[in-house]
């Protein structure tokens, strides 16, 4: 199975991340359930971090550890970040990929990667 393309490659690699970032970020900012968490962060930096998030969720190359995810979201947990917010993010992510015409089976794999970080993101 080593010849098989990785999830990241199947989705389209960096080009797919670039195509997805504006769509995803637009969804997040318009999503009343979660946009308050993104209110006071610099948009440019935030968009770059969305790219990091998408790369990670698409199974692409990254150097984040579980500890990084804990530390990176701890200030949000303190502000009330909970399961419903993670659900919303995963939902927006799915809608973004659907808009880009990505196959459902790949979307499910992306959701599973995001899901696997849930406990770290929520500091549990």
């Amino acid at each position: 199975m080593s010849q098989q393309e990785s999830l990241y490659e199947q989705i389209g690699g960096e080009a797919a991340v670039n195509a997805a970032v504006d769509i995803f970020y637009r969804k997040v900012l318009s999503d009343e359930r979660i946009n308050a968490f993104f209110d006071d962060v610099d948009m440019e930096k935030q968009a770059a971090k969305q790219k990091a998030f998408l790369t990670m969720a698409f199974g692409g190359p990254h150097n984040y550890t579980g500890l990084d995810m804990r530390q990176g979201h701890a200030h949000l947990v303190a502000r009330g970040l909970n399961d419903s917010h993670v659900d919303a993010v995963i939902e927006d992510l799915g809608a973004t990929l659907r808009e880009l015409g990505v196959k459902e089976e790949l979307i499910a794999q992306v959701a599973a990667i995001a899901e696997s970080t849930r406990d770290d993101v929520l500091s549990r």
């Binding site: 960096e14 504006d22 900012l29 318009s30 948009m43 770059a48 971090k49 790369t55 190359p61």
Partner: protein
């Protein structure tokens, strides 16, 4: 010099030897240089640096705005160069030399805004819309945007708004005299016109002296043959706050693709002016910004809100250029 060094990385006059398969970021941090970083994989842009000598690798400029790439900004965490590089942090003051300049003229554009014309003693390689830092004395400098266009205007032009109790703006308004020599650093910033897509529609919104960079950017774009529609919304509370209106109307008469919409948010709005805040009027007139290029300058809150609105109205992040005229918070 070690035989294994792939290249030499020079930072603040120190030389660091780059090892095989080592990124510029790792090389610098191992050498004790503090460079902020986060993802270490070229996506978050936290580690952004600028090559002041040598050329950064193509891979290390992937995903950066054109305006940043043109200025040799790069991401050291994904930079594995074969050649020597001299690098600086983006806000590293030592990266830019102090340039003396002579004040050529000072003239009020309205009751609050001073047109400052400076003759730089050294060639200043800038683009209209970038800013320079002007120093009252060694430790007190402020950013002012360039309204002049290189090759079109002989000198540097600034529009400086007087702030109540403002130290540097007060000094410029009350004490600066023609013939005096001042010091400046720069240029900096990525709010400027990039040629390439001449037919793209452009929306520019500025409040108060936020017109300074926009005035430069518009004239730069027109002189470079921009053919797409250009809409300038300049906002102020009352008629007194607008300026360069005659010049902008004349520009409109010369270029069919240029539109100037002066906006007044106060109660007294004569005929020929739009009534309301500049960004509200802009979005009402142009609700869909897909494929548009956007420039936003002036009041920080206006810039913040409008940036988000423009993005939600369909403008791509990379097509939004903004300079918030942040004033330093008093201690």
């Amino acid at each position: 010099m070690g035989a294994t060094a792939m290249a030499i990385i020079r930072y603040a006059k120190d030389n660091f030897e780059l090892e095989e398969n080592q990124s510029v970021l790792d090389c610098l941090t191992h050498g004790g240089v503090i460079v902020p970083f986060s993802c270490r994989s070229g996506v978050c842009q936290t580690c952004l640096m600028r090559a002041t000598g040598g050329t950064p690798t193509e891979a290390s400029q992937q995903g950066l705005k054109d305006s940043l790439r043109l200025q040799n900004y790069f991401l050291p965490c994904v930079c594995y160069p074969d050649n020597d590089l001299e690098v600086a942090l983006p806000d590293d003051a030592d990266a830019q030399a102090v340039i003396p300049a002579t004040v050529k003229s000072l003239r009020l554009l309205n009751t609050d805004i001073m047109h400052v014309e400076l003759e730089s003693h050294a060639q200043l390689d800038y683009r209209a819309g970038q800013f320079i830092n002007l120093f009252q004395h060694q430790t007190q400098g402020r950013s002012y945007s360039l309204a002049s266009v290189p090759h079109q205007d002989n000198h540097l032009h600034l529009h400086v708004r007087r702030l109540p109790q403002g130290r540097v703006s007060g000094w410029i308004h009350d004490e600066l005299r023609p013939g005096q020599t001042v010091e400046l650093r720069g240029p900096g910033g990525d709010c400027f016109y990039i040629p390439g897509d001449h037919a793209q529609s452009m929306m520019l919104i500025g409040t108060g002296s936020g017109l300074a960079p926009l005035y430069g950017i518009i004239r730069d774009a027109l002189s470079q043959g921009h053919t797409g529609p250009i809409y300038l919304f300049h906002g102020s509370r009352d008629l007194n706050g607008l300026y360069l209106s005659a010049e902008l109307r004349e520009l409109m008469a010369h270029y069919a693709n240029f539109n100037y919409i002066p906006c007044l948010s106060g109660d007294d709005v004569p005929a020929g002016y739009a009534s309301g805040r500049a960004h509200d009027i802009a979005f009402a007139q142009i609700p869909n910004l897909k494929n548009w290029r956007i420039f936003l300058c002036g009041h920080p809150e206006m810039v913040r809100v409008t940036k988000r609105k423009a993005f939600l109205a369909g403008a791509a992040m990379k097509n939004i250029y903004a300079d918030a005229f942040n004033v330093s918070q008093p201690l």
